[in-house]
């Protein structure tokens, strides 16, 4: 009875190796994508929402770096910011609240050929998904993660977020927030992220620069991008915006990005703090470490087909 399985007809096409996708035109002869080709659904964000800028600069990044549709994979959690993938023409997934990183890790560890970008909010990253941030950072799984921090829960309409400052009046803290907020930079440094940057949606050039640097980093690269929720936390970031009388202070030129302690000190500055790359190191990725394990293990079975490797195991079970 065991053999009564549901067979599926063998597909002749199931053996294309994952790492060398065929394309209709060789990449060299393809024209780069235009903004029109990259845009999908019209964004559903409130007019004036900071998230528009992040989307616009993601498009710019794709254009500038000549990324192909099929190579971009955009992943998100749940939240206003996490609506992101619907607005991008390319493979993507709108996953669960807080769990985008492990989902993306499954992609990263099996598909080294893709450019993997993850977007989400502060609640997604530091509340429900907090532990996943820690472990993705510790494992250094290759992808770029943009946290669109608005210091509030936007989608669920103004509850306290883990980054809401003390005293912020929300629907769940009508008298003002009482819980100590998380400092995203400190959190990421201690978790072991290998690329940590801070930027703001109101400084497009800087945001693009950070995205490019993050994309080029071989490892788990995280950007905290201040992105104002005009609906539920208007003016939250005015102090960082020169057009609103605030100050945009870049990370000092002499900051050593490989110095964890120095990065931690920068993160200690009170708002608006510094913008730029806080920390970066070249610790090997889990992707590379697993590939190394595989190379060693596969040396021993060189030249064998998969069924022959399994046969060898079965021969020891007699």
């Amino acid at each position: 009875m065991s053999e009564q399985t549901i067979g599926i007809p063998p597909r002749g096409n199931i053996v294309t190796p994952v790492t060398t996708p065929a394309t209709a035109l060789p990449d060299g002869e393809r024209k780069g994508l235009t903004k029109k080709e990259i845009a999908a659904d019209h964004p559903t964000w409130c007019p004036g929402c900071g998230d528009f800028a992040v989307l616009a600069l993601y498009f710019k990044l794709i254009e500038k770096r000549k990324l192909w549709h099929e190579k971009i994979t955009t992943v998100s959690g749940i939240g206003c910011s996490s609506r992101f993938p619907y607005f991008v023409q390319g493979h993507g997934a709108h996953y669960l609240h807080g769990r985008s990183l492990p989902f993306a890790s499954g992609i990263s560890l099996t598909r080294p050929d893709l450019h993997l970008f993850v977007f989400g909010g502060d609640g997604d990253a530091f509340s429900i998904g907090g532990n996943h941030v820690n472990h993705t950072a510790r494992k250094n799984i290759k992808m770029t993660y943009v946290i669109m921090d608005n210091w509030v829960y936007g989608l669920t309409k103004k509850q306290t977020s883990p980054t809401s400052p003390l005293g912020f009046k929300s629907k769940t803290d009508i008298w003002g927030a009482v819980d100590q907020p998380i400092n995203p930079m400190k959190q990421l440094i201690s978790a072991g992220a290998t690329f940590i940057a801070r930027t703001t949606a109101t400084n497009p050039n800087h945001l693009l620069q950070m995205m490019e640097a993050a994309m080029d980093h071989d490892g788990f690269s995280v950007i905290e991008c201040l992105s104002e929720c005009v609906e539920f936390y208007e003016g939250a970031f005015d102090a960082s915006n020169p057009r609103k009388g605030g100050k945009f202070e870049p990370v000092p030129a002499d900051h050593d990005v490989t110095d964890e302690v120095a990065a931690y000190k920068l993160a200690n500055a009170s708002f608006p703090g510094y913008f730029g790359i806080f920390y970066k190191n070249n610790r090997p990725t889990k992707n590379a470490l697993e590939a190394k394990v595989n190379a060693t293990m596969q040396e021993k079975v060189q030249g064998k087909k998969d069924w022959e490797i399994l046969q060898a195991s079965f021969s020891r079970l007699k």
């Binding site: 394309t23 099929e70 499954g106 069924w307």
Partner: protein, 607 residues
């Protein structure tokens, strides 16, 4: 059959004279502490049976505590078909007083009780009912190999005794022992063999007669010997799975340990995650990106995965979820068996979230079910549960070696460009196109947990939700139509039909055999496809007066176990009744028969 059991041979023997009796099967129970290496004796015997023509089935308990604690291993070896680990033991090896006292009840009247006379004082009352054989196992082992024999060596000494008693093939055992210690220090192999030969050479001749298994039917091809968790792990590899993620929990952990160790040889990866939510998410991510991936757990861990499984139903991403069931709820009984997660597997999601649930019936079936699960997941883009349990996970069986060249499959995704791709068209099942594939019309899909249109973009209109809910349901209805109706064991018409699922296959079939041998009208049906149920079951049920659903879970508020409840809901048939239990132990054959007699109002009508 009664002529060839051990207790009858003992009873017929005229007290003491060494002689050889031919038996066609034996149930041997070893009872000691976990550090005595009792599992290893069982393992050797199971392997030996696999290399001979005998059938074998084992049963073991693992103590819930980390170190020490009582532990048993029962092995049933026979020349005919072996379906279960046996209700009662023919021979008990008791290493300690507590082993003796706790397990004497599991021995057949007239059976042989071999006690380590260094530790066990026999009870005169019991000596009347059982043949006691005192052997100074501990001191003889020390004599042979030195040391304290506190934990090591006794098991091999006992293996030697068993080999002598049952006239087992010594060169084959020696080979097994040497293989087991290959790579270790030469002296370890030597010590092990010395202990074995000390046991083999110990003169038991005047104490017990020797037994010889009757000639078994020649089997075609060779056999492999493994437990259910190993069979599942290797089955997933054969199915082409190259990525998995999980968090450790007993009794699931062995599967993940095996995959972590083996997958790299095939270019695959298994990740130990921070928790079960991350694991299921990582597996879904990998599935989204290409090949069907696996996650698994037991009890509490499965509960943590439920939100994500709902997402996979919604976004139509294939996934295999293994649940090696244990006693629940909560931490429950981590090292005991129970079949109480069926409802969770079938219904455990918010919203209408149809998923597939399969239940392997024995170790061999674990291997094939893993492949079937992957293929269903892949064809229907749906999460597929494999409901195994602690009993299958830990028991060792020998089965015909699969033809791996034929069975192994490659499920690498096709990434060649397509003109267009519409993943959720109302017309039904789609061949998935994964990330990395160029779609020439420039329209790319989104995998979404929000209700969506045919491209995965959000849409919450009443019409769309109705259409898409139906789409997700109809995939499973289509699958149901493809599933084979299970075969009745025994005549297709009669008085009582025992219905079971999962690891109870053996004891249920043996109950049928025994009942029929006594002239009672009993047949059985085993359901491997729990959700969707295969078509045609109503026709099977129509042939019987009573349908008794035998399962290891609670009778519930209304008197039926979990499969029983599902079948009643499906068939509205009042003759479907429950036969359930929650003692955390596998069913004994006798237990099933007695319960059927008391449960079925009309009793067991004669054929």
């Amino acid at each position: 059959m009664s002529e060839s059991t051990i207790s009858s041979a003992v009873a017929n023997g005229n007290g003491g004279a060494p002689q050889v009796a031919r038996v066609n099967e034996a149930v041997i129970r070893f009872a000691g502490n976990s550090q005595d290496g009792i599992q290893a004796i069982g393992g050797f015997l199971a392997r030996l049976a696999g290399r001979s023509e005998q059938e074998v089935m084992t049963f073991m308990t693992i103590p819930a505590t980390i170190s020490g604690g009582p532990s048993i291993f029962q092995v049933r070896i026979g020349s005919g078909e072996i379906l279960s680990a046996g209700d009662e033991a023919d021979v008990l090896f008791a290493f300690y007083q507590h082993s003796y006292q706790d397990h004497i009840n599991s021995v057949k009247k007239g059976g042989i009780v071999i006690i380590d006379s260094d530790h066990v004082t026999p009870n005169p009352d019991w000596e009347k009912d059982f043949r006691h054989v005192p052997i100074p196992i501990s001191s003889r082992t020390i004599e042979a190999i030195g040391g304290t024999a506190k934990d090591k060596g006794k098991n091999l000494f006992v293996l030697g005794l068993v080999a002598k008693m049952f006239d087992l093939n010594v060169p084959k055992i020696e080979k097994l022992v040497s293989e087991r210690f290959t790579g270790k220090d030469e002296s370890i192999v030597k010590t092990a063999l010395t202990a074995f030969h000390a046991g083999y050479g110990f003169s038991v001749g005047h104490l017990i007669q020797n037994f010889q298994f009757t000639e078994a039917k020649k089997k075609s091809g060779s056999q492999v010997v493994m437990n259910g968790n190993e069979a599942l792990g290797y089955g997933l590899i054969a199915a082409g799975v190259r990525f998995g993620a999980a968090y450790p929990i007993t009794p699931w952990s062995d599967v993940m340990e095996l995959l972590r160790r083996e997958l790299p040889k095939y270019g695959g990866t298994f990740v130990q995650c921070e928790d079960e939510i991350a694991s299921v998410s990582m597996a879904i991510g990998a599935s989204f990106a290409g090949r069907v991936a696996v996650t698994g757990s037991s009890g509490p861990g499965i509960s943590l995965k439920t939100e994500a499984i709902g997402w996979a139903v919604m976004a139509e991403i294939p996934l295999v979820v293994v649940n090696v069931q244990r006693g629940g709820p909560s931490t429950g009984m981590p090292t005991s068996v129970e079949q109480s997660d069926l409802n969770q597997a079938v219904f455990g999601g918010h919203g209408d979230s149809p998923r597939v649930v399969l239940a392997p019936t024995n170790v061999k079936d674990c291997f094939y079910t893993a492949i079937e699960a992957v293929n269903i997941a892949k064809k229907y883009n749906v999460p597929v549960f494999i409901l195994s349990d602690q009993a299958i996970a830990t028991r060792i069986e020998a089965f015909e070696e699969p033809n791996l060249e034929k069975v192994c499959q490659d499920i690498t995704p096709d990434l060649s460009p397509v003109q267009e791709y519409v993943p959720y068209s109302p017309s039904g099942v789609t061949n998935r196109v994964v990330a990395g594939t160029r779609i020439l019309n420039g329209k790319y899909p989104i995998a979404s947990g929000l209700e969506h249109d045919e491209m995965g973009h959000p849409g919450g209109s009443p019409k769309l939700h109705m259409q898409m809910t139906a789409r997700r349901r109809m995939k499973l209805q289509r699958l149901a139509a493809e599933l084979p109706t299970p075969q009745v064991y025994g005549p297709p018409e009669g008085n009582v039909l025992l219905v079971g699922w999962g690891s109870t296959l053996g004891p249920i079939r043996e109950a049928v055999d025994r009942a029929r041998a006594a002239g009672d009208s009993v047949s059985s049906l085993h359901i491997r496809h729990i959700n969707p149920l295969p078509d045609g079951l109503e026709n099977v049920f129509a042939g019987f007066n009573h349908v008794c659903v035998v399962e290891m879970n609670d009778e519930g508020l209304y008197g039926y176990g979990q499969l029983g409840g599902l079948l009643r809901a499906r068939f509205c048939d009042p003759k479907i009744r429950g036969l359930t239990k929650t003692d955390g132990l596998t069913f004994r054959v006798r237990e099933i028969l007695e319960r059927v007699k008391t449960n079925v109002a009309t009793g067991l009508r004669k054929i």
